[in-house]
């Protein structure tokens, strides 16, 4: 089936089987490999992308369901050579180690910070509870998101 999607403001079209998972469209067909796969059961969130602005697990959506819709992946965070504050936050606060869960964490954080301007630690922890990280123990991820929130409040983009 024909699937046309906009990813990171660029349009893509492919012919795919209906059963193709969105994450495989993104990774294997369109070769945007920043989005990762970490489980089979919709638990880990490594595959998180934004679908029409909402973070979703792209391993639990069929590519055909995204037809005509707008996606954003980790590759879309940086604009005109400028890192997004969440990217800055993760780097400044050591919010990543192996980097594997990081793209999913970043996408969840990005979407969360569009709704929450000054979140508490508990709110942040709840917001990222669909994304597993095995390396960081989350403390620095929380700090990274707080760092980004502060930057965004100061008028970052």
């Amino acid at each position: 089936m024909r699937v046309e999607v906009t990813i990171n403001r660029e349009r893509y079209a492919s012919d795919v089987e209906p059963r193709l998972l969105l994450v495989h469209l993104i990774r294997d067909v369109l070769r945007l490999t920043g989005t990762h796969i970490g489980c089979d059961t919709t638990h880990c969130g490594a595959c998180t992308v934004l679908l029409d602005g909402r973070p979703v697990k792209s391993c639990t959506v069929f590519a055909v369901q995204a037809h005509g819709r707008e996606l954003m992946t980790v590759e879309g965070l940086e604009q005109d050579g400028n890192l997004h504050p969440v990217q800055e936050g993760f780097m400044q606060e050591h919010g990543l180690q192996c980097g594997y869960c990081t793209p999913g964490m970043l996408m969840t954080s990005y979407a969360f910070l569009r709704k929450a301007k000054d979140p508490t630690e508990d709110e942040i922890r709840l917001a990222i509870s669909g994304n597993l990280c095995r390396c960081t123990g989350y403390v620095n991820i929380v700090k990274a998101i707080q760092h980004a929130a502060a930057r965004l409040r100061q008028g970052g983009t």
Binding site: E17, R19, L20, H24, R27, D28, R31, L32, T33, G34, T35, H36, I37, G38, C39, D40, T41, H43, C44, A46, T73, V74, E75, L77, E78, L83, Q87, F90, M91, Q92, H94, L96, Q97, C98, G99, Y100, C101, T102, P103, L106, E121, I124, R125, L126, I128, S129, G130, N131, L132, C133, R134, C135, T136, G137, Y138, V139, N140, I141, V142
Partner: protein, 789 residues
């Protein structure tokens, strides 16, 4: 902590440099194995056994081969033609690549399907029909050793039982004597269940055999690429894969924790499939395969006893352990001891006598075990001694902190030789515990606990004062197939004073690109940003044994310092030549040599590097390069004290970690930010098995906990806000005074949590609870002891 010696611009040891690897990871530009896509690449997927023990009567591939795009179905019979159906384990045992006769555990590889696409490969797997004849299953290692138990390893001609090995260490007679004369003894059965590292990236590879050049390149999720290359050459040399024709590339690794040390059958099948087809073959396991078939950790059934005097002085330790290794002893344990470093079990305490016995048993479970972010059975050892220390303290009516302070090895006793033969390098155990007590407000917490108890509320405080043993390792204790456990660093300084350094280790998130650069910056004064660090490619990196067991800093970090010092020696000669001074008249400070008494006469390392290629003295070779292979003289012994506060819900049995203070000591620190991050992560991987994670089996050998539905990796909500602090006791034998740290917290944390829970329930009569401490287990204890909401 000493202040850093170098400027922030140079960024040597002690600076919290931002990581050099982050810019690619935060942009999604890392390259993990599944990101490698080659033209014409085929996909391999694996048929797995639904039975834990069964004879394979027939494998019918016809329906699978009828799936368009399915090219081949590979079975054990196919591999047997090349004698590749079995492979050796690191423990001199054997394990199957693909079975010919029978399967030994649920989810074992049975056949592999090769197809043009991963979806078609999965369809092929679905269509392979296997006829099994179920055999009696043995899941309990105690039953496995009973007379009359079905013998599992029928492939071993002379094997008449399921006993793998017996190992004992220490002075049995002296220990028995100490127990006979003891004022007080305590005894407990402690089970450390099977768990799985569950790195978020699973395992996999892309194998590419070039039929023209005869060269095999394998991109592979491995923590030890060089050792893997040698193993491949040893196993498959007879089919033409010689070591110079094998290139292992370990790209970005999405977490390892020990799970990416072993050679799994999938890798070998993918290599075989590529050799046979001449095409690149990708195999990526899914999460369930990862949890169900890859190496487990722990599965130790421990009986421990402590003896002490009436006034609370520990005298002896006695431990008997049954180790469940599944159907093969495939432990990723490069030590010369079958139970790894389990005999660090005397911990932080000054015992006069100790004795430990371990027996290995075969069962119908996946082979192993590996460490779970620890050095080969160290968590098992620490958990045992720290649980037992609490048990003894409570038994004696002593405060657990006071009891520990009374029994610690004293700072002046180092280097200290333990009753089980280890030589501890340095430590100040009381210092760490006192710092932790102060930070958490120990005395106030005890008061609060007493008040809460009056009101019937359940609150517990748990301590774990652990001693680690890392940096595998000195060749007297370690080897892999005879390979000594050195590690390596090769440095080349370019004419403009920039550098590349390559290592035999492989980062899986530890930040080697940053910390190694900082070590070199410290030693050479070249800014860390000017030093490119590479590892993981066997064609370019010097030989090393890889990254696990917290060995990178203790071993490769030392190699970096040693190689840099060789460079500095040559740089001194060059500087003497440039400054027309005698070598002994030169003073080194990070980044330059100057003439004693004439600080204006100086040459920077960059000027010296340029001269190494343009203006070196007659008789000196050009260039500024060095390599070091470092075989550590001894292990390093990081330590720490952790204190945990829990609240127990009387109604539901839930345990909530309210506070957790971790004071760690890993000697001199290269990058404090990274060390703290390692501790946060380690603590979380200590919390996980303490409260959540377990892989268990029913009587038929069906796996329970084989997906993230029931294998409970904690989220940010379950994970407490870790509070960390440090003391600094340098290692006297490490060139930088550093120790490893990546695993300390994993090793130390579970006991603190378990001790806190038992502490909350001790007054009810509860003496022990095995991890994971689930709400259901706590509820049962509460009800058994008459507590209800």
């Amino acid at each position: 902590m000493m202040p850093p010696r170098t400027t922030p611009e140079i960024g040597g040891m002690g600076h919290s440099l931002k990581r050099k690897e982050d810019p690619r990871f935060i942009r999604g530009k890392g390259t993990y194995v599944d990101d490698v896509q080659l033209p014409g690449m085929l996909y391999l997927d694996i048929v797995r056994s639904p039975f834990a023990h069964a004879r394979i009567k027939k494998i019918d591939a016809s329906r699978a081969l009828a799936v368009p795009g399915v090219l081949a179905v590979i079975t054990g019979q196919d591999l047997a033609k090349y004698n590749l159906h079995w492979m050796p384990t690191l423990m001199s045992d054997t394990q199957m690549v693909l079975p010919v006769e029978k399967v030994m555990y649920q989810a074992q590889e049975v056949a592999a399907v090769l197809a043009t696409d991963r979806y078609l490969a999965a369809d092929g797997v679905d269509a392979v029909e296997v006829e099994y004849e179920p055999l009696p299953v043995v899941v309990d290692p105690r039953k496995a050793l009973e007379p009359g138990a079905p013998v599992l390893r029928t492939d071993k001609k002379d094997k008449k039982d399921n006993h793998i090995w017996h190992w004992e260490w220490g002075d049995r007679a002296a220990t028995d004597r100490a127990f006979q004369g003891a004022d007080v003894t305590v005894k407990e059965d402690i089970y450390l269940p099977r768990i799985h590292v569950a790195s978020i990236e699973t395992c996999g590879c892309v194998a590419h055999f070039d039929k023209v050049t005869g060269k095999l390149t394998v991109w592979m999720t491995t923590q030890a690429p060089h050792a893997i290359r040698t193993v491949f050459a040893l196993v498959a040399g007879h089919v033409g894969l010689e070591e110079h024709k094998i290139r292992i590339i370990s790209p970005d690794i999405g977490g390892g924790f020990g799970g990416k040390v072993p050679v799994y059958p999938g890798y070998v099948i993918a290599v075989a499939a590529s050799v046979l087809t001449g095409k690149p073959v990708k195999w990526i396991e899914d999460r369930m395969e990862n949890l169900q078939a890859d190496s487990f950790a722990r599965d130790y059934h421990i009986t421990a006893e402590l003896a002490a005097t009436r006034d609370g002085r520990l005298t002896a330790l006695r431990i008997k352990t049954l180790a469940d290794h599944g159907y093969a002893d495939a432990a990723a344990n490069p030590s010369k001891f079958p139970a790894g470093l389990f005999h660090i079990c005397t911990g932080s305490y000054d015992f006069k006598a100790a004795h430990v016995e371990v027996d290995g048993a075969y069962t119908n479970k996946p082979p192993g075990g590996i460490a779970y972010r620890c050095s080969f059975r160290v968590t098992e050892a620490v958990h045992t001694i720290e649980r037992m220390a609490d048990l003894m303290a409570h038994q004696l009516g002593m405060d657990p902190a006071e009891f520990r302070l009374k029994n610690f090895i004293k700072p002046e006793q180092f280097p200290y030789r333990s009753a089980l033969g280890w030589e501890y390098d340095s430590g100040d155990y009381a210092g760490a515990l006192r710092k932790a007590m102060e930070k958490i407000g120990y005395a106030n917490l005890r008061r609060e606990q007493a008040e809460k108890r009056q009101r019937g509320e359940l609150m517990g405080i748990g301590i774990s004062s652990f001693t680690e043993i890392v940096g595998a390792g000195p060749s007297k204790h370690f080897d892999i197939l005879g390979l000594k456990m050195f590690d390596s660093c090769e440095i080349r300084i370019h004419p403009t004073g920039k550098a590349i350094a390559r290592f035999g280790t492989k980062s899986q998130g530890q930040g080697h690109e940053t910390t190694y650069a900082q070590i070199l910056a410290e030693e050479l004064g070249i800014p860390a940003k000017d030093i490119q660090v590479e590892e993981g490619d066997t064609d370019t990196a010097p030989y090393g044994l890889g990254t696990y067991a917290s060995r990178s800093t203790p071993v490769a970090g030392a190699a970096a310092a040693m190689a840099a010092r060789k460079i500095r020696d040559k740089a001194r000669k060059l500087a003497a030549h440039l400054l027309e001074a005698a070598e002994e008249d030169l003073l080194w400070e990070p980044g330059k040599f100057s003439v004693k008494g004439a600080p204006g006469r100086a040459k920077t390392i960059q000027e010296i590097a340029f001269a190494a290629y343009t203006n070196h003295p007659q008789g000196m070779e050009a260039g500024l390069e060095a390599v070091s292979y470092y075989d550590p003289p001894s292990l390093t012994y990081p330590f720490g004290s952790y204190i945990c506060v829990v609240d127990v819900d009387k109604g539901t049995g839930e345990v909530k970690v309210r506070r957790f203070v971790a004071v760690d000591d890993c000697g001199n620190i290269i990058n404090p930010m990274i060390v703290e991050g390692q501790i946060h992560g380690g603590l979380t991987m200590g919390l996980a098995p303490a409260l959540y994670e377990e892989i268990s089996y029913d009587e038929q050998g069906n796996i329970r906990g084989g997906s993230f539905i029931d294998y409970l990796v904690p989220t940010a909500v379950e994970t407490p806000k870790w509070e960390t602090d440090k003391t600094c006791t340098p290692s006297p034998h490490h060139p930088l005074g550093a120790k490893g740290v990546g695993e300390s917290a994993t090793v130390g944390a579970p006991a603190a949590i378990a001790n806190a829970v038992v502490d909350a329930l001790w007054h009810l009569g509860v003496r022990h609870v095995d991890i994971p401490i689930t709400p259901a287990k706590v509820w049962k204890l509460l009800r058994e002891h008459g507590v209800t909401e």
